[in-house]
């Protein structure tokens, strides 16, 4: 399967196979007007299989979201058809308004306009907990 290369935009590469759709959702890519390609299960020498997202516009991408969903992914900024910048990804210490706390007893379930904040409590096991009630975020 072939997807054309882009002139100006963002390529999120080396996404763990199966995580592409989650990234697509959390990055809010469905609301973009430009062309966006989500390619699943691409053959990869390193990973066996991987997902790739190509965005045909030079837009700011929330690296925290990528670091949360798949810190092994890479972000390449393409300008004039060539690689202009390679962004490194790390797991963010805090996630603000990326995911919501699912604990019905959490104050975020009823307090108006309260930001949903999660903090990284165990990097090795990729554990994020709600800042308010300490409920563990679901594995994505």
């Amino acid at each position: 399967m072939k997807i054309d290369s882009i002139q100006n935009g963002v390529v999120i590469d080396h996404i763990t196979a199966g995580c592409g759709m989650r990234l697509y959702e959390l990055l809010g890519l469905a609301s973009l007007d430009c062309s966006v390609a989500l390619i699943k299960n691409v053959s990869s020498k390193k990973q066996g299989h991987k997902d790739i997202i190509k965005i045909d516009a030079d837009i700011p991408v929330n690296l925290d979201v990528i670091g949360y969903v798949d810190p092994g992914a890479t972000v390449n900024i393409i300008r004039g058809g060539v690689l202009a910048e390679k962004r490194t990804i790390d797991m963010p210490e805090r996630l603000v308004n990326v995911i919501k706390c699912k604990n019905p007893r959490c104050i975020t379930s009823c307090e108006q306009e309260l930001e949903h904040i999660f903090k990284l409590t165990d990097k090795e096991n990729k554990v994020y907990r709600c800042l308010y009630c300490e409920t563990k975020a679901d594995n994505h």
């Binding site: 007893r105 104050i107 307090e111 108006q112 308010y132 009630c133 300490e134 409920t135």
Partner: protein
């Protein structure tokens, strides 16, 4: 602005200093009788809790301060739809310090983030209740004279009991603590506490289902109530509620200096025949709670003034 939301907000040194202050208050109450003259404590209780609220109010009154507040959400602006953040900002204009209980977990943190005066978490749902832990710590200190090298048994509902979780967290910072967890299978201590707190601190622990088997080795026995409100199924509650009942006979094999604690209220998990035993410390625990709240109010007001 310094607040107390979780017991881990304070260092071991700060807890030690609070305990020293509380002991000094016990020894010299008149020296503290005017320390909060002209200061107001607001007790914001969005759910009823007679004991904790009265403990805070008694603490402030014994420091010479005044108390304002409400004891249920229906008599607050929350009933009109006001956000907790706004309530905290408004009350900051009336009071010098806030003690708040709220049914939602994390509510105290929201209040502290928006108030301009110190906030004390007097219980936020099933999450934290740090002043109960302060009461527990002073009880242990007064009864045992130390925090290290103790074998501490926790019995009953270890799954939902926030006081158990907080005390385990607090004790995990001292050396030579050994923990014995006594509960039915359904109410065992959550695995994340075993992993994140006990294992991380290198605290040896054993899990038992039999109270009699555990008693002889304990320096402290922390009993808890099986809470009806935590169960979705009444049948499960009825099956488990009488599982552990501490009575005088069971205490026969205990150490002569065992300290029996309970955060109260008790239902029937400690028989009244234990009340007369010198090892029963749960009513002293209530009194120590007031002294620790006095020490805490003083500390937070002094820090706010700096």
């Amino acid at each position: 602005m310094r607040s107390l939301i979780d017991i881990l907000d304070f260092t071991v040194e700060e807890l030690d200093a609070l305990i020293r202050t509380a002991c000094d208050i016990i020894d010299n109450p008149t020296a503290y009788a005017e320390r909060c003259r002209g200061k107001k404590l607001a007790t914001l209780f969005f759910e009823p809790s007679t004991r904790t609220r009265l403990s805070f109010e008694a603490a402030m009154l014994e420091l010479g301060g005044n108390v304002i507040g409400f004891s249920e959400a229906s008599s607050s602006s929350a009933a009109k739809g006001e956000s907790l953040a706004d309530t905290a900002r408004v009350i900051s204009c009336y009071a010098d310090i806030i003690a708040m209980r709220h049914p939602k977990e994390g509510a105290a943190l929201v209040a502290a983030n928006n108030a301009t005066v110190p906030v004390i978490n007097a219980g936020d749902g099933g999450h934290c209740h740090p002043t109960q832990t302060l009461a527990d710590l002073l009880t242990i200190y007064r009864e045992k004279g130390r925090f290290d090298n103790l074998t501490v048994g926790f019995c009953g509902d270890l799954k939902f009991g926030r006081t158990v979780h907080s005390l385990i967290n607090a004790l995990s910072r001292y050396a030579g603590i050994r923990v014995v967890l006594i509960s039915p299978e359904e109410l065992k201590l959550p695995s994340y506490i075993k992993k994140d707190v006990l294992a991380k601190a290198g605290i040896p622990y054993t899990q038992l289902t039999d109270l009699e088997e555990a008693i002889p080795q304990l320096d402290i026995l922390y009993m808890t109530r099986v809470q009806r409100e935590r169960f979705f199924n009444e049948e499960d509650y009825l099956r488990l509620k009488d599982r552990y009942i501490l009575d005088a006979k069971k205490l026969e094999t205990a150490k002569p200096d065992l300290c029996v604690m309970h955060p109260l209220p008790r239902v029937n998990e400690i028989s009244v025949d234990v009340d007369k035993d010198a090892r029963a410390c749960y009513f002293k625990q209530v009194l120590y709670g007031k002294y620790m709240r006095m020490a805490l109010i003083l500390k937070l007001l002094e820090e706010a003034a700096q």
